[in-house]
């Protein structure tokens, strides 16, 4: 499908795309779904998601121990080998202990014109945390204005909010269409669409996603019999091949709780009122990442809700090895699923995927249980 090929293109070589974009506008790298992208975009900049996909991560060994996750190792390698030289800078929201230290190591070992820590609150459920959240956004806005010599007006923020709402609406629609008819496009294609939306210039992404949503909505909805419906839960999925292997084993990932999926597009920003307040509010209601706190069981409840809504028969926990926040939540989330009789399996990934044959056998065994 032509509409999808363009997404493939940028995901297959995001750094090449970055080079092209950076000739037109300044790009700011980020690696967390709590990055307030609207503010970056409103400053006339291009928010560029860092996935750390380059295979050689040796240079990171000089800065990070072997027990650091492959995402952070990959991002650090990319920047230290000069592959991200076309960036104008980076922004690090407070995510986990590891990304916090990545921020330090990045700041101390690189020389980009711009750098910002956006130290958001860790809890999102109290009035003082929310007040602080908005103040941090205001500080970030001022940092961008100062760093790039631009003015981030309320009007430009509102324009960016509208654009991001379009992106999120289209992504949700595409994910929901596929949940209804998994045969529409493959999981790998969907994965690339979501990742591509974080790499492409957002105006381009918004129109491509809207076109794709329309096109998919018009297609006949195939529903092959005998296939199982599963959900992926974890930090991120930057390896679309997982889907192909899962599909070969007879199951489709029809929904997810990932920052390359539902956590990215969940919730819209109110388009009236103060734009920074509105941006902050979305994060209070959005599905949380385990590095944040909203309630003791928010993620478990959301998981069961998704299981019901999307008629999920089994869950694959996709764990990035050494990702502490997700590893801590796994037993409790599994407990929620066990309580409802939903089978689950844990797949731990470090850098590259396990050999296909091995992974296929694991998935086949799991799918047979469903």
């Amino acid at each position: 499908m032509e509409a999808i090929r363009a997404f493939h293109h940028v995901v297959d070589d995001p750094l090449k795309y970055l080079e092209g974009v950076s000739l037109r506008k300044k790009a700011v790298g980020y690696c967390c779904s709590y990055t307030p992208e609207e503010v970056i975009h409103a400053a006339g900049l291009h928010p560029f998601r860092l996935f750390g996909l380059s295979p050689d991560t040796g240079v990171a060994d000089g800065h990070l121990q072997s027990y650091c996750c492959s995402l952070v190792r990959g991002v650090l390698s990319d920047v230290l080998t000069g592959r991200l030289d076309t960036l104008s800078g980076a922004v690090f929201p407070h995510t986990c202990d590891t990304i916090q230290r990545l921020s330090d190591i990045w700041r101390m070992n690189t020389k980009f014109p711009f750098f910002a820590d956006v130290v958001l609150p860790v809890k999102l459920d109290t009035p003082s945390a929310r007040e602080y959240f908005e103040e941090v956004l205001a500080k970030f806005r001022a940092d961008l204005e100062k760093g790039f010599g631009v003015s981030v007006t309320d009007a430009s923020l509102k324009g960016s909010i509208k654009l991001y709402n379009l992106i999120r609406t289209s992504l949700r629609k595409i994910f929901e269409l596929r949940s209804a008819s998994p045969g529409l496009i493959s999981g790998a294609e969907l994965n690339k669409v979501a990742m591509g939306a974080m790499i492409l210039e957002r105006e381009t992404a918004a129109s491509m996603l809207a076109d794709l949503a329309d096109e998919l909505g018009r297609l006949p909805a195939p529903s092959p019999a005998g296939r199982k419906r599963v959900m992926l839960v974890g930090s991120l999925c930057s390896q679309p091949d997982i889907h192909a292997i899962l599909e070969k084993a007879g199951a489709d990932a029809v929904w997810d709780d990932l920052c390359t999926g539902s956590r990215y597009f969940d919730g819209l920003v109110r388009e009236d009122g103060d734009p920074l307040t509105a941006i902050a509010e979305r994060y209070y209601s959005r599905i949380i990442c385990p590095a944040k706190h909203s309630s003791l069981t928010a993620r478990g409840e959301n998981l069961l809700k998704s299981v019901d809504t999307h008629r999920v028969e089994g869950v694959v926990f996709l764990m990035l090895k050494f990702c502490d926040p997700h590893a801590f939540d796994y037993p409790y989330l599994k407990g929620f699923l066990d309580g409802r009789g939903v089978p689950s399996t844990l797949l731990e990934i470090e850098g590259q995927l396990p050999p296909e044959g091995q992974l296929l056998t694991r998935f086949e065994t799991f799918v047979q249980m469903l």
């Binding site: 407070h94 820590d117 609150p121 502490d324 590893a327 801590f328 409790y332």
Partner: protein
């Protein structure tokens, strides 16, 4: 003084006193249901003073983690947590505590059940997840004191946010205890907290003396009271006595090592199940671990504390602790310690259990070599899970490291 006499004097009379105090403390905590006192579990970097004011018994799972490690019970408990689904890559304190809570495990048969949980994330994000686990397990209220990370600065927004949370903390305690916060008592607790920290600092400063009267291994042991009983007269009295004992040793010429030749700085938490072995191994080379970055954390924020305005100034002191600052800020402390204690080498404990303490260590190591020109070495472990430790590989590395120091210094 003859050699055997000196050897006898080298064991601390304060050590017995501390064991007695800790035993009494744990008995009080374990019998809280009979005495009607409330028990709060609190993170090691958390503000304990408001609990002392409210007469709530603070209990530290991290202190218990150290005890579990020192008793060589960490491997077994961690394995049990892994059977519950927790990854072996997670913090070994957290794994050991999660399993110990379920089966009343560890050296004192489990910690007393908490009435509330106080989690301050100034030491890591792990405590947030760990305390969420325990809040679900025990079904008790959880208060989170969220201290924004201060990479290079402490912005006004963060100050205001933490300040407001101290009010929320006190309101939380008033609700949990059903009585108002005693402002008058808080002044006394604040005074005792400062005095305790000053004495603790004086204890650690004493190792600047050459040869050192105590080692970092002793500091790891004597640390327990400044963590658990900060803000009490007991802690103040104890550290005053300990300081006196240390000064007596200096006067009597009784030092940690019979023949101190080299002085070492330790970075990160201790390896609890190999304290003695590490101490002996370094001592066999005439090397004394004179200081560490870990135990200084309990007096390292004193520069932010205003004695006349304790409960206002601890907002900054609790937020800007050693683990809640950027790597380039941390290295300044390391440099200061290298100079102050006149060390010949830096031992970096790369602690798989503590990512915020360990990531960035390689950058620190590089700067220490470049700026201070002293040798460094790395030892890897999980601080309280003895299954992860390789004694023979570590011994080889220590020997090689000491050879470099000897060649340099003679």
């Amino acid at each position: 003084m003859s050699a055997p006499e000196k050897e006898k004097k080298r064991s601390f009379r304060s050590a017995k006193r501390m064991r007695d105090i800790m035993t009494e403390y744990y008995i009080n905590a374990k019998t809280a249901p009979q005495t009607g006192k409330k028990v709060a579990w609190i993170t090691s970097g958390g503000p304990v003073e408001p609990l002392i004011v409210m007469d709530v018994i603070p209990v530290y799972p991290e202190n218990y983690g150290a005890m579990i490690g020192a008793s060589h019970m960490g491997g077994d408990l961690c394995a049990k947590a892994e059977a519950m689904g927790y990854s072996p890559d997670l913090c070994s304190y957290a794994r050991a505590d999660i399993a110990a809570a379920v089966e009343n495990g560890g050296p004192i048969g489990g910690l007393p059940r908490p009435d509330m949980l106080i989690c301050c994330n100034n030491i890591c994000g792990t405590v947030l997840k760990w305390y969420e686990v325990q809040a679900r397990y025990f079904g008790v209220p959880l208060f989170i004191l969220d201290t924004p990370f201060c990479h290079t600065e402490f912005p006004d927004q963060a100050r205001k946010y933490v300040r407001r949370q101290f009010d929320e903390y006190i309101a939380f305690l008033e609700t949990a205890c059903g009585r108002p916060f005693d402002e008058e008592k808080s002044l006394e607790v604040g005074r005792l907290s400062i005095e305790g920290q000053k004495l603790w600092k004086a204890v650690l400063d004493a190792t600047a003396h050459k040869p050192a009267p105590i080692t970092a291994f002793d500091a790891f042991f004597f640390l327990a009271l400044i963590v658990t009983l900060r803000g009490t007269q007991v802690a103040v009295d104890f550290y005053r006595d300990l300081l006196q004992e240390i000064n007596e040793r200096i006067n009597d010429g009784v030092f940690a090592l019979e023949n101190e030749k080299y002085r070492i700085l330790w970075d990160n938490l201790p390896i609890w199940y190999r304290l003695k072995w590490l101490s002996d191994t370094f001592a066999s080379h005439g090397a004394c671990l004179v200081a560490d970055t870990y135990t200084t954390a309990w007096c390292g924020s004193m520069k932010y504390i205003d004695e006349n305005n304790f409960f206002e100034s601890i907002v900054e002191a609790y937020t800007r602790i050693y683990l809640n600052i950027g790597v380039d800020e941390m290295v300044k402390t390391v440099f200061e310690m290298i100079d102050k204690y006149q060390v010949d080498g830096l031992v970096i404990h790369s602690n798989r259990s503590c990512k915020p303490y360990s990531f960035g260590q390689y950058d620190i190591e590089k700067m220490v070599r470049e700026v201070k020109g002293i040798p460094t070495m790395t030892i890897e472990s999980h601080m309280t899970d003895e299954r992860s430790f390789s004694e023979s590989a570590t011994k080889t590395r220590i020997d090689a490291f000491m050879e470099i120091i000897k060649a340099r210094k003679g």
